[in-house]
């Protein structure tokens, strides 16, 4: 793992990607910092972070696009996969290298609250917690980007799909508002989700009996419940989708100054899930 981590990190700074990315993030944050904190005199740095969290949508795809797509294209993955190294170590080595690059601008951010403090009152606890959550949110995005990069040979496709996925996550909060809240729509939505699940099961296992049973069982449960207690489905779709609103946890810390541990656990879990999926996608390619 250490060998891969070191090589990756070096590669980011030999190919300029690392420097460009760090400079880009620091400059943008600096501009917002100047506008909000220095000119308008707002004492929370967390407010700046909340407003710049859209730059992750641009920065993260640039960071992650080459991770696995490039290896696959240049066939250097043959070297890694035939070396006496565990797949987990390969993926983690790369993932940690990317989070390290991302950690550099986050470390620079830590200076901003101190600057505010030198002018008067600063809310260090909130600000540093926001920076931490900002970093963790970036880690999720990086895991997603790495996963998408492992699916393709083309860096461009990796970057574009990652951009799309992150944009969707960014707009998620707004999109949820468009969801209908009635009982019927809740029932239909649940059935659609179950069908989607059954389809994924079919695609992954190739076993249509298992997919069929999942679909059937799901539909029966939904039907029974809808007759027994229809109110259960009111707002169900919105509530379910809200759980997937990743940026919400960060916003709570940054704006409402509310830190919730379940959100932190969710962040770590989502990142772990995508690291795991990356391993699976590489493993799958070996077998097909």
């Amino acid at each position: 793992m250490k060998a891969i981590y070191k090589r990756e990190l070096k590669a980011y700074f030999q190919s300029m990607t690392g420097y460009v990315l760090i400079a880009f993030m620091v400059i943008f944050t600096g501009i917002y910092f100047m506008a909000y904190n220095l000119n308008s005199g707002y004492p929370y740095f967390s407010y700046v972070l909340m407003n710049i969290n859209y730059i992750l949508i641009i920065a993260v795809p640039l960071l992650t696009m080459r991770s696995f797509a490039e290896e696959r294209k240049n066939k250097t993955d043959q070297m890694l996969l035939s070396a006496p190294v565990k797949l987990f170590d390969i993926v983690m080595g790369k993932y940690l290298a990317m989070t390290t690059v991302f950690a550099v601008p986050c470390a620079v951010f830590c200076l901003f609250p101190l600057i505010i403090k030198s002018f008067g009152t600063a809310y260090l606890k909130v600000d540093y917690l926001s920076i931490l959550m900002f970093f963790l949110m970036g880690c999720i995005y990086i895991a997603i980007g790495m996963f998408l990069s492992s699916l393709t040979e083309s860096q461009i496709i990796a970057a574009v799909t990652t951009f799309g996925a992150l944009l969707l996550i960014y707009l998620w909060g707004g999109l949820i508002d468009f969801l209908p809240t009635s009982n019927v729509s809740g029932i239909i939505g649940t059935v659609v989700l179950i069908t989607l699940l059954a389809f994924i099961i079919y695609r992954m296992t190739g076993n249509w009996i298992m997919a069929g049973i999942t679909e059937l069982a799901g539909v029966i449960i939904v039907t029974v419940l809808s007759f027994a207690k229809a109110s259960l489905f009111e707002n169900l779709l919105v509530n379910m989708m809200k759980r997937l609103y990743i940026a919400d946890v960060f916003d709570n810390v940054a704006v409402n100054h509310l830190f919730d541990v379940s959100g932190l656990i969710m962040y770590l879990t989502v990142a772990a899930v995508f690291v795991f999926l990356t391993m699976q996608s590489i493993e799958k390619r070996r077998w097909s």
Binding site: R7, N74, S82, A83, P84
Partner: protein
């Protein structure tokens, strides 16, 4: 030692490797020979753990490549068809990374990298970026990476492709040198190369192992088909009469009209029999002049062509490649 048992690899409906079975013993040079698309690279990729097999198993020194991948992979050095090089690194950096990846202890790392660089003669380019190197040098860097750590088994997929003749000779010498201490498996679609270097040849066609033996034995295997061609003056009846007196002939094919007043005969003797002298004396006794006597021996090339015939017709391999 490598044991490959009943190996099958399917790409969708396409059968790339078809129930392959063989063992590789220590201390010899093995050659995988086959036309393009025969499944050589796929087999090698499975043996090194890069690909998974659809069926069957690979044991490296008793370690299953799937169940104990790390132990198995430690015994192997692999140079794939396209050397897996990181273009933005220097040769020295790259080899150090490879050494670390192969878990060579820190103390030995720089010594081993030095040794390997000397072996493949890349010491003078060690500080250059790999992307600035020529194809030949890149191939050597790839080879260095495979040798690094001096694993028991070294697998080379078409190691001499794209090199100039001098470099090819150098690499061949290097392979012979390596074979003194290691088992080397190399693949090629060039017969001459395999014949030159290998102690043992495995011919693969359509994912199947069609023959595996030493080069000499492979030639012997086919020697039943060696023939003696003659052209004798006289009518067909006279020549038939003379031929009838020669012992040990399996069958004879007569051909008229090659030359005026002469008959051409193609004689196939029984396996392992040399009938040339007999042919001469019998014809001399009958005062039937021989205008030509030639002996056609099967070469390894014929064996290769014969065994991979189907594949060549289908794929229409470029003759020059074989």
């Amino acid at each position: 030692m490598i044991e490959v048992r009943n190996l099958v690899k399917k790409y969708g409906a396409h059968l790339a490797v078809d129930h392959l079975d063989f063992t590789v013993d220590t201390g010899q040079i093995y050659g995988f020979l086959g036309p393009n698309g025969a499944g050589k690279s796929t087999t090698m990729n499975i043996m090194t753990g890069y690909l998974g097999a659809t069926e069957g198993e690979v044991l490296i020194n008793g370690h299953n490549i799937l169940e104990e991948p790390e132990e198995a992979k430690k015994c192997i050095g692999y140079l794939p068809e396209m050397p897996p090089l990181y273009m933005e690194m220097t040769v020295w950096e790259y080899l150090n990374f490879s050494a670390e990846l192969k878990k060579i202890p820190k103390k030995e790392r720089s010594i081993q990298v030095e040794q390997v660089m000397e072996l493949v003669k890349i010491v003078d380019v060690q500080n250059r970026l790999i992307k600035n190197l020529s194809k030949g040098y890149r191939q050597r860097v790839g080879l260095a990476q495979a040798i690094l750590g001096f694993p028991e088994i070294i697998i080379l997929d078409e190691p001499t492709v794209g090199l100039d003749p001098k470099q090819i000779i150098e690499i061949r010498e290097l392979i012979r040198e390596l074979a003194k201490k290691h088992t080397v498996i190399l693949s090629s679609h060039i017969l001459a190369e395999i014949q030159e270097v290998c102690d043992y040849i495995m011919i693969i066609s359509h994912g199947k192992l069609v023959a595996s033996d030493t080069p000499e034995n492979l030639e012997k295997l086919m020697s039943g088909q060696q023939t003696v061609e003659i052209i004798a003056k006289g009518t067909e009846d006279v020549v038939k009469d003379v031929v009838g007196r020669i012992g040990g002939i399996k069958h004879a094919v007569y051909e008229n009209g090659i030359e005026k007043d002469a008959v051409g005969v193609s004689l196939t003797p029984e396996a392992g029999l040399d009938i040339r002298e007999q042919v001469f004396t019998e014809f001399a006794k009958s005062e039937c002049p021989l205008l030509m006597l030639s002996h056609s021996r099967t070469t390894l090339e014929d064996v290769f062509l014969e065994l991979t015939q189907g594949a060549i017709e289908e794929v229409q391999t470029n003759e020059g490649d074989i």
